[in-house]
Assembly symmetry: C2
């Protein structure tokens, strides 16, 4: 029996696009990928005018499963709060696309895939990629789908970096853009945390100079430590304190040993353990490197506003009060540059103690703001 | 030829005190150390009234070489800015004592020493120790030196935890106390960072369950990663940005590889490498555990003010504006509790962008304040 109240299905379709070389994807490094596979998921339907497409860009450890269960983990899509029938990015109205980034490990070509030149997994022979390379691959996908103009490109964290790169490199293809909880470049502290993670992976003897796949081993311990260190930066001090404080795990007094006495220890160990089941260690190296390299001002003569000089899209920049990874000051730098370029920009800072990962959570004020923005953009563009 | 302008020598004397068991040091865990060696350094001379003794407590990775060169590294004492002839803790006037903590690796009994019960290095058979255990050992040392009352006990970071423990457990032995850049307990975030470090060490196969010394190996890579992660917390975001920003190391463009392209990467790697030459991996586990366990309020019925109910000493609590490891709010909690116990307390927050490690640096305003405090205490006690 059909449930009459059920919203329309999101019509999720997971596909891959394969582009054969040579030079399927030219890269910032001067190298190229000769054979490129892009794994992506779409939700909803492209309208006849091809004017209702929205591209979602994912963060460091996320993937293309934005609004449907991840087949590897069985967990819900990572942005189901925002994407789906009746949601802000309403899949009954919009055609939503999300692709795994180049260098990733969820189907798009990355270091765990076979290097066509050698017939062996790339490992460290995979070329170092940049945020712009990720965006170039997305352009190829959007071209393949026959979409000349995106109604919106949106994303948080590293997803927001890709949004900024779209705004700078492909401004003519955007009606609107939503860079969320992001930055136009990494601070020394941002780089430092990533470097700790990379060193943790490389310190694991099972990493084997990046050739672990050929040897059928995996640097689980190193990757878990990298994840633990990074995870601290995704939550605010207040959120960690509220969730865990100094509460003990399954005991009433400390053990006077090195067990996970505190809940926060147990939580972090769990974060590390579960991460290594779903993520590739070399992908972690490559993607963190791409984030550290990202510097939109440096790419435009040292002046961020120059990155946006051709931009006509409407932009909504968003930050979160307790995000100490990419604090509001970073969002304001982007807003100032957009203003200096006479762009159409609105800025909102959401009050929350949840930290950087707040963009993934249920924050009603965020939904209201984003819904207002995208509805106005759609109305302006005549999208029903 | 004597340089007439040279100040008096600090009369540094490095000694060890050996206390034979059984039960030389009873521990909070219920266990005991049967054989205890305390390595300590003194500066200046104890006066006839035995009223000019100042105990300095060291931080996690520091040692007893507070105002004279560390014989292992050849580097200057870690607090020469504060301790020496004519300095705030003037070794021409005061008898300054600093001892390596129990569980440490610079001469005081710790996990790298021989377990008298087995004839082999303790490793993980060393009992888990607490901040109070460290202080109990200091009391034995002070007793041995024939000092019934300390003019001051002072220290930053974990040193400050020891100062707070002295104030709570041995209040009758203190004329004054200076807990600096410290906290009465670790937050969930503090514990989380330490847990990352411990997991990094334990993930290193050369750690071998803590028995690396018996096998003549050392978990250098894991300990280096632990140090790198911790080091980020010792500096402010602003200090890292000021020192390194996004500057490249010995190159003009990025390498598109995994070398240390950025100066901050090179700096962190150096911090890791140099640390493993001077510190024991198991000591790092034990001392971080002691810090995580420290909870002065919990030890006193959940009320921090109860910890100070017997305190008559004058107290100077100090914090630093950019310290995000132990932010000023933690210092204020201590001050509020002291006020609630009607203690004689002054509080000062120093403006600096240097972060947690600011207490080790040249900050003229800090010197002026601390000098005023210790001079007033000395005058009050009739110390010339």
């Amino acid at each position: 029996m059909l449930d009459e109240r059920a919203p329309s299905a999101p019509l999720a379709a997971t596909r891959t696009l394969r582009l054969a070389g040579p030079q399927a994807l030219a890269l910032d490094s001067g190298q190229a990928l000769d054979d490129l596979t892009i794994a992506y998921t779409t939700y909803g339907e492209l309208n006849a005018a091809r004017s209702n497409a929205i591209l979602i860009c994912h963060a460091l450890t996320l993937d293309q499963h934005v609004a449907s269960a991840n087949p590897m983990t069985g967990k819900p899509g990572w942005w189901e709060a925002m994407v789906g029938p009746g949601k802000v990015f309403d899949t009954n109205r919009f055609f939503v696309i999300c692709s795994n980034v180049v260098g990733g490990c969820m189907g798009t070509t990355g270091p765990k895939d076979i290097n066509p030149a050698t017939g062996k997994p790339y490992g460290l022979t995979f070329p170092v990629i940049t945020i712009r390379d990720m965006v170039r691959a997305q352009v190829l996908l959007v071209d393949h789908l026959g979409i000349s103009e995106l109604l919106c490109v949106a994303g948080g964290s590293m997803g927001g970096m890709q949004v900024l790169e779209w705004m700078a490199s492909f401004p003519e293809r955007l009606v609107s853009a939503m860079p969320i909880a992001t930055t136009a470049n990494h601070s020394a502290q941002n780089i430092a945390f990533h470097e700790v993670g990379r060193q943790a992976i490389m310190a694991d003897p099972e990493w084997r100079g990046g050739h672990y796949l050929a040897d059928a081993v995996f640097p689980s311990k190193g990757l878990a430590v990298a994840r633990m260190a990074a995870h601290i930066t995704y939550l605010s001090e207040a959120a960690l304190q509220r969730k865990f404080g100094r509460e003990l795990q399954d005991r009433t007094t400390v053990s006077y040993a090195f067990d996970a006495d505190f809940q926060v220890e147990s939580y972090l160990r769990h974060q590390g353990r579960s991460f290594v089941e779903r993520f590739d260690a070399n992908s972690y190296l490559y993607i963190t490197r791409a984030m550290d390299y990202f510097d939109l001002a440096a790419d435009h003569g040292g002046q961020l506003s120059q990155a946006f000089k051709w931009l006509k899209a409407r932009v909504c920049v968003a930050s979160f009060t307790s995000d100490w990874l990419y604090p509001t000051i970073e969002a304001k730098r982007i807003v100032h540059a957009l203003n200096a370029a006479a762009a159409n920009v609105s800025f909102v800072e959401f009050e929350t103690d949840a930290g950087h990962d707040a963009f993934l959570l249920d924050i009603p004020e965020m939904f209201t703001t984003f819904r207002g923005f995208i509805d106005a953009v759609a109305a302006h563009r005549g999208v029903a």
